[in-house]
């Protein structure tokens, strides 16, 4: 479970995140939805320990990323916005590197990698160097890398960016499977269809603030709109930046 309360983060005079709170419970898919520049990536970076909030706090299964980064990192699988691979390493070696950094080794690690290779349908690229991989292939390896230690909480920043239809469908399957396993999935997107298709809970972020949250059903009801799309436009006041 991931909880965030009153997160604030400024870069110089620009306030990227301004009092964001949300809760992403286990066994549910929570979507951070908002236009580009809304502060989604910064909020996720605070959760995954690479940035410190100016104010507010985060708990991941009860651990604070600022004071207990190691405990948080062990419980998180992260697919950041920039999820580059090592081009001179094979897919398997890329995943193994992160697995070993999580303290896994030997037959146990090999078995986990094997499971991910079949789960993500990447047998054909498993032993190829990742140089020249397509966008979808890179995403699969990065996702395998994020899941290799079987984390309870999974963070995905704009995971469907630049993916073709088949890869997007595969990704949705993985996310649903994680939810069925009782994992906490928190992902950000500016693509409304993604959120509508996957999320149990939606947190709409704009200008660094949470402007609305609830289930898609709640949002439709409170805004009095027939479709989720209309609901988004209603709470944001504008459709700018949303696909």
């Amino acid at each position: 479970m991931i909880e965030a309360r009153g997160l604030r983060k400024a870069f110089g005079t620009v306030v990227a995140v301004d009092g964001v709170s949300f809760t992403a419970p286990d066994g549910r898919v929570t979507g951070l939805l908002g236009p580009n520049g809304a502060g989604k990536t910064t909020a996720l970076r605070i959760v995954c320990t690479v940035m410190r909030p100016d104010a507010g706090w985060v708990r991941v299964d009860g651990f604070d990323p600022v004071t207990d980064p190691r405990e948080v990192q062990r419980r998180l699988g992260v697919l950041p916005d920039a999820h580059g691979l090592y081009p001179r390493l094979t897919s398997r070696e890329n995943v193994r590197y992160f697995g070993r950094l999580h303290g896994l080794h030997g037959a146990d690690l090999d078995a986990r990698i094997e499971r991910l290779v079949s789960l993500l349908d990447m047998a054909d690229i498993a032993d190829r160097r990742s140089e020249g991989f397509s966008h979808g292939e890179r995403m699969k390896v990065a996702l395998a890398r994020a899941l290799v230690h079987d984390p309870q909480n999974v963070l995905l920043d704009e995971p469907t960016n630049g993916l073709d239809v088949m890869s997007t469908r595969a990704l949705r399957d993985i996310i649903r499977r994680l939810r069925e396993d009782g994992r906490c999935v928190l992902f950000s997107s500016h693509v409304m269809q993604e959120v509508a298709a996957l999320c149990d809970d939606v947190v709409i972020v704009a200008g660094g603030r949470v402007v609305a949250d609830g289930t898609p059903e709640d949002l439709r009801r409170t805004t009095g709109c027939d479709t989720l799309e209309d609901a988004f436009v209603a709470v944001l006041g504008t459709a700018e930046g949303l696909d």
Partner: protein
């Protein structure tokens, strides 16, 4: 520490597959020693040729002094016809030296007056000094011999005109004579240290960020100092390989290539010499690697890091170049300048001189302390959020 080892192993494996990293660690280090030995061979050959074999001496008006020409001819100088404008020929470098015998030479010679001769030289050309010196010595000895005969003809002991008996004692050992040219060697050793791990340092910092793999890496349960330690270790390994290879190349080349023959001196740069040089230079690795990582991690892109890091070897090499022309006496103050002190020490070891333990200790201590401070700075830089974006 085990996680630092995982980072280390990955960086080494990754960069062993990188052509640029491999070239920097394995190929560039051989380049310096090979070039230096080649230059030494060429210079040595030039000097020996002029010192030992017959050289041509262009003479204008040879017909005015046939006896002198015979004498010069029997002392290793081939008399040839001088160019029409001797001064222009020497100035242009077509001839090292031209001897001009004026028409009144014979008259002055037979009447016992100092017979005039003109030696046209270019004093600014170092390569001509050997030819000029040999012609000078031949003319001097002819002059002395003729003078001595004249004194004896008048019943005077020729020795009375020599007020002084000068014997020049050259204290330079054969090794230190060669070392005048070998003064460039410290430059190549420093070069090897600052080039060997250069691409790995960039790849592991600015490159890692540019590829977008830095942020995922930092979300793993690994302390930042462990990540830095792994990257530092891998860069040091490549740098050490480069350093050892350079010293080995020097050791092999100096002992296999007949440098002694062509320089006219004997070199005995044995295993002990190179082992000592290695021990003196290793602390520089502890300084160079954190400095490279710090600069590369601070830059915005691979390209920018490459620009800075390829300039870096030139900075400590400047004193090395200076040393080649103006040898500095080993002094404690010089040892306190990292890399400069080591270059002086390398020079001393090569010259077969004893190095002062105090000097080695001072140079090593300053370098290591600075290296540790730089390492702490790298860790601090990695602990900041800014590491995600660079400068």
């Amino acid at each position: 520490m085990r996680r630092a080892g995982i980072v280390f192993t990955k960086e080494v494996l990754d960069n062993l597959r990188d052509r640029r990293s491999l070239l920097a660690a394995l190929f560039y280090p051989i380049l310096g020693p090979s070039l230096l030995v080649l230059v030494l061979l060429l210079v040595g050959r030039t000097f020996r040729d002029r010192a030992e074999s017959d050289i041509e001496l262009p003479v204008a008006g040879a017909a005015h002094a046939p006896n002198l020409m015979n004498y010069l001819g029997s002392h290793g100088l081939d008399i040839v016809e001088a160019p029409s404008d001797p001064e222009a020929a020497v100035a242009a470098g077509d001839a090292d030296v031209v001897l001009v015998v004026p028409e009144d030479f014979a008259e002055a010679f037979t009447s016992g007056q100092p017979a005039p001769l003109q030696l046209v030289v270019d004093g600014s050309r170092n390569t001509a000094t050997i030819s000029v010196g040999r012609v000078r010595r031949a003319l001097d000895s002819y002059s002395r011999r003729t003078g001595a005969l004249r004194l004896m003809a008048r019943g005077i002991n020729p020795a009375v005109v020599d007020a002084l008996a000068i014997e020049q004692v050259d204290v330079a050992t054969p090794q230190s004579q060669a070392a005048n040219l070998l003064n460039l060697m410290p430059y190549f050793v420093v070069f090897a240290i600052f080039v060997g791990g250069m691409y790995l340092a960039i790849d592991a910092t600015a490159g890692e960020r540019e590829r977008g793999s830095l942020e995922p890496l930092l979300t793993n349960p690994v302390a930042r100092w462990e990540i830095v330690a792994g990257k530092l270790g891998a860069t040091m390994l490549f740098t050490l390989v480069s350093l050892v290879e350079t010293l080995l190349a020097f050791a092999v080349l100096f002992n296999v290539v007949p440098l002694g023959d062509s320089l006219g001196i004997r070199l005995s740069l044995g295993v002990g010499t190179f082992a000592t040089i290695f021990l003196i230079t290793v602390p520089m690795v502890l300084l160079a690697v954190p400095l490279q990582l710090l600069i590369a991690a601070y830059t915005r892109s691979f390209k920018e890091a490459q620009n800075y890091l390829s300039m870096l070897p030139l900075v400590p090499a400047l004193p090395g170049m200076f040393l080649a022309f103006l040898p500095v006496k080993p002094a404690l103050w010089a040892m306190l300048i990292p890399t400069f002190g080591q270059q002086i020490l390398i020079n001393q070891v090569m010259r077969g001189e004893a190095v002062a333990p105090l000097h080695v200790g001072a140079a090593t201590a300053v370098t290591v302390v600075l290296g540790i401070a730089l390492t702490a700075l790298v860790v601090r830089l990695f602990e900041r959020e800014r590491i995600l974006f660079g400068r």
